[in-house]
Symmetry: C2
Subunit: 544 residues, 2 copies
């Protein structure tokens, strides 16, 4: 028997309608690519997004078509998103940091018919446009005055396109499971794979992400998403902010410490979110200038693990609460956030910071469990660590066009590729990537834990741990060290330092010293490169 409740599909347009009716006066402030600060309101966004939808419809875009956006966080990017979704088309956020061959691949794979592109990225697309014939029209996100000379096909200024029509457009209505957005993950192997968000997943995820133990934002808040819209939906903020009526502050292309700091202060931002790299630049800038943060209450930090010193600086020096966050493109992306729980309010600041080093608790609608190699569930005791698996209405069920095949197990769980603990209070902590865990005699050793201990040595600049083959134990850890300038620290000194800080059987079988550890574009250690580099390294314990 069905309930007798209204059929009210969870469409992105309902979020913008809500903002228009209830928060029409609330501001959206953008540092434009052209330079000046632009201000308008949710009522304006509502109107302009309908113009975008109408203009796209005029261009022949229909339900299900993909429209690319290669753009910073700006009001125009928001308009494009809501206009595209309001027509029933699919925004495809293109990460400009991808290699040209990856850009060619994903634009063709997505079959983008139109691409909205910021001034900054026009040269990138010009360089590959011979290989992306699917794109019929390039919309340059500027006005006629700033329009560049460009060879891009059918290039049109965004403002000309939008102002060529009025806002008399009724949002299309369709099934809430209709595709709304597409974002490719740049895996370390193989081609990027597309995650295809639906209206339902975006709306539900926005509702969950805005809640009090997550972003905790309402109409009094001013939110600045520094995390780009092309990076996993700007962590849902483009949906959360209009849903909750929060002021939005869009930083555009300038992510240096000075630019971010001035927006935080000038626009009285209360909540912001980005990866650690951005906050490192901000903290450095503030320390150099002896600056303060006068309105910021909370900062969400994710993308990679947040260093303890960063949590300490925000909380102790600036009075800003840090929310460690974890998620994945495949999860829309928020999985966990590190809001403290009842009882923890009485912890000392240092104890709180220790708790905050964990990646946090699942928001409602995200299910998590950890399993061993045999898919047996492990206890949530904060000690056992295993494969982290997730389920939920905003978790991918597969990749676009079936790439990668079936990605769920029989019970619908998605394997994140992370290895973690979960404690009895629900706090999850990433221990390692599954492919980096060292499997020694059927037991697991966390490479990250070993690295964290090793970098505690005063003469160690950076540390990485990989597993090497071992005749008896299958794998044993090799510790790779970059010494600090002028140091001559030895293997024995390092191992002596680690003794007592880790389980005896976790002790690395060997230590290698190198000049530099290779990193990815986002600052993560390239373990695959290290494994290649040390593939002929023979562990002293491996002698038969």
């Amino acid at each position: 028997m069905k309930g007798l409740m209204q059929d009210w599909p969870l469409l992105a347009s309902t979020i913008l309608d809500h903002a228009n009716t209830n928060h029409g006066e609330r501001e959206i402030v953008t540092r434009t690519t052209e330079g000046p600060i632009h201000r308008y309101t949710y009522a304006d966004l509502h109107s302009r997004s309908r113009q975008v939808a109408k203009a796209l419809e005029k261009q022949g875009i229909v339900l299900g078509d993909r429209v690319g956006t290669m753009a910073w966080n700006t009001h125009r990017h928001l308009e494009a998103w809501y206009g595209i979704m309001g027509l029933g088309a699919v925004y495809h956020t293109i990460n400009p940091r991808l290699f040209p061959e990856q850009l060619v691949y994903i634009i063709n794979h997505a079959e983008d018919r139109i691409v909205f592109v910021d001034l900054t990225f026009v040269p990138i697309l010009e360089g590959i446009q011979d290989q992306i014939g699917c794109v019929e029209t390039f919309v340059i996100m500027t006005d006629a005055e700033h329009m560049p000379q460009t060879s891009l096909k059918n290039a049109v200024a965004y403002e000309d396109l939008v102002n060529g029509v009025d806002d008399d457009f009724a949002w299309k209505v369709f099934d809430e499971n209709t595709a709304a957005g597409l974002c490719y993950t740049s895996g370390t192997t193989g081609n990027p794979k597309g995650v295809l968000y639906s209206h339902r997943s975006n709306v539900l995820h926005g509702m969950a992400a805005g809640s009090k133990d997550a972003f905790s934002v309402g109409s009094m808040d001013a939110i600045m998403p520094v995390v780009p819209m092309f990076h996993a939906n700007a962590w849902a903020i483009a949906f959360v902010a209009p849903m909750m009526g929060s002021k939005l502050v869009m930083p555009g292309m300038q992510m240096d410490g000075a630019s971010i700091h001035s927006l935080l202060e000038d626009e009285q931002v209360t909540f912001t979110a980005a990866v650690p790299t951005v906050w490192l630049m901000l903290l450095n800038h503030m320390e150099e200038g002896n600056l303060k943060l006068s309105t910021l209450k909370r900062v969400a930090i994710g993308g990679s693990a947040c260093p303890q010193v960063m949590i300490e600086k925000f909380e102790k020096n600036y009075g800003v609460e840090v929310m460690h966050a974890w998620g994945m493109t495949e999860m829309s992306p928020i999985g966990t956030l590190g809001a403290l729980k009842a009882g923890m309010e009485n912890l000392s600041q240092d104890e709180k910071i220790k708790q905050k080093l964990k990646q946090g608790r699942a928001i409602y609608s995200v299910e998590m469990k950890i399993t061993d190699d045999n898919d047996e569930e492990l206890p949530n005791d904060g000690v056992a660590f295993g494969h982290l698996k997730v389920r939920g209405p905003a978790v991918a069920s597969g990749y676009f066009k079936g790439e990668g095949g079936n990605i769920l197990d029989q019970e619908g769980w998605f394997d994140t590729g992370d290895v973690s603990t979960i404690d009895s209070l629900g706090f999850m902590q990433i221990t390692d990537r599954a492919k980096d865990v060292i499997k020694s005699g059927g037991e697991w050793i966390s490479s990250i834990d070993l690295e964290n201990v090793a970098v505690g040595h005063p003469e160690v600049a950076e540390a990485a741990v990989i597993g090497l083959p071992h005749p008896k134990w299958d794998e044993r850890p090799l510790l790779i060290i970059v010494r600090k300038d002028g140091s001559n620290v030895t293997k024995d000194e390092i191992l002596a330092y680690m003794d007592g800080k880790i389980a005896k059987w976790w002790m690395p079988d060997d230590v290698a010293f190198i000049e530099e550890i290779p990193h990815t574009a986002t600052g993560k250690i390239q373990k695959m490169a290290l494994r290649e580099q040390f593939k002929n390294h023979r562990l002293p314990t491996a002698a038969v």
Copy 2:
């Protein structure tokens, strides 16, 4: 094209699973019907609810069956709800304050197969059990020790039923639109009509109601729903609290000021919700004993308009923020909540209180508009008032078994029967019930506005306004006054007092004095009775 997100139906069981995994240690505290305070955790609730589901399945209850509950807010009532829903059956909350003939009607109409009943209400059901033959089993919500002598058919003690099985029960999985709950509205005319909630509507409504500008609750909060679970889902709190990990404090049957105050203090409640009557009792109790509230931050007040003096006392005397709330059984029930918006933080306390007299802003997923008699939308300017209409995924599309016919217009709007304004910031204020508005010469006069002005006169104890027929203006207002003891205030003095406080053409055409104004069980003025009483009253202005 569909998105590629997981099929994860929004079922009530997902809420309890979330609480169990992430907030298993969090407390649920109940003042039991038997007397003592009972304490356990969400992990216990999770376990016991599965026992209820398993026990009901053993009793032959299947998907879609209705199971009645006639019970106070207790941990057992929660277990019954989640057990019933987890099996795919439908909880039917029975309001014990209904007249016996209404109880007979709704239990038969719902075809309840089992009824869970608190000790308090056993005599009521005994009195009507000959007329409710559909009920096969009565479960008395107590243990063997407290089991009363009863003639109720197949009466079994709740604890015996639950402890007769273990908790090895896997929640049933089904379409999220499956019926979950049933609640009858006690309309002023005709038979009660059943609102049939779905799992989807309950889950979505819980997500929206918990957000920062609504209840604003998280895992640090302790929530006490004084509003009964049989009164429109306890305003969603039974869903919000486990979803957010808030501690739950269940007041049971004792709603007097002393009992409520001691729970608020002893259990460190931060958020509570109920109708004005309850808060009047609490405020009187606190004033008499010169008591304080040491942890309560916010109180939601709805069901009927919250008097200004109540807002003032909570905010000024006790430092508790008042959230005026409005909703309907047909809306699951929350429609609006009066959270202030950006900019209002700088208002004086009196200005804030004035703003809080409005019923508040729509939560996300509730659409509102006001229309004139021709269904033309009126402006959201805070001045125009019209029929308040709503849409949303937790708004009824019809009543159980089709009673009352089609209740939505062609665009899916449900007419609330209220007349209201909506201002440009989204704040809605109820002006009147549509049936009580006085239609004078094609224009509307709010009976409530006139009453509010009239009761400002120091010698007026209570005032009511009804429309009487008028040959020229169709209707004109009659003001009906109950004088304060010893007063002899006259018609002319009353009208002189009102002069200048209302539009000239709103001035009542006559004033009548009576000893007592008739009220409903919930304290509302019975205008229908007044219209009957004054049906032969002739307005002096009506002489041709």
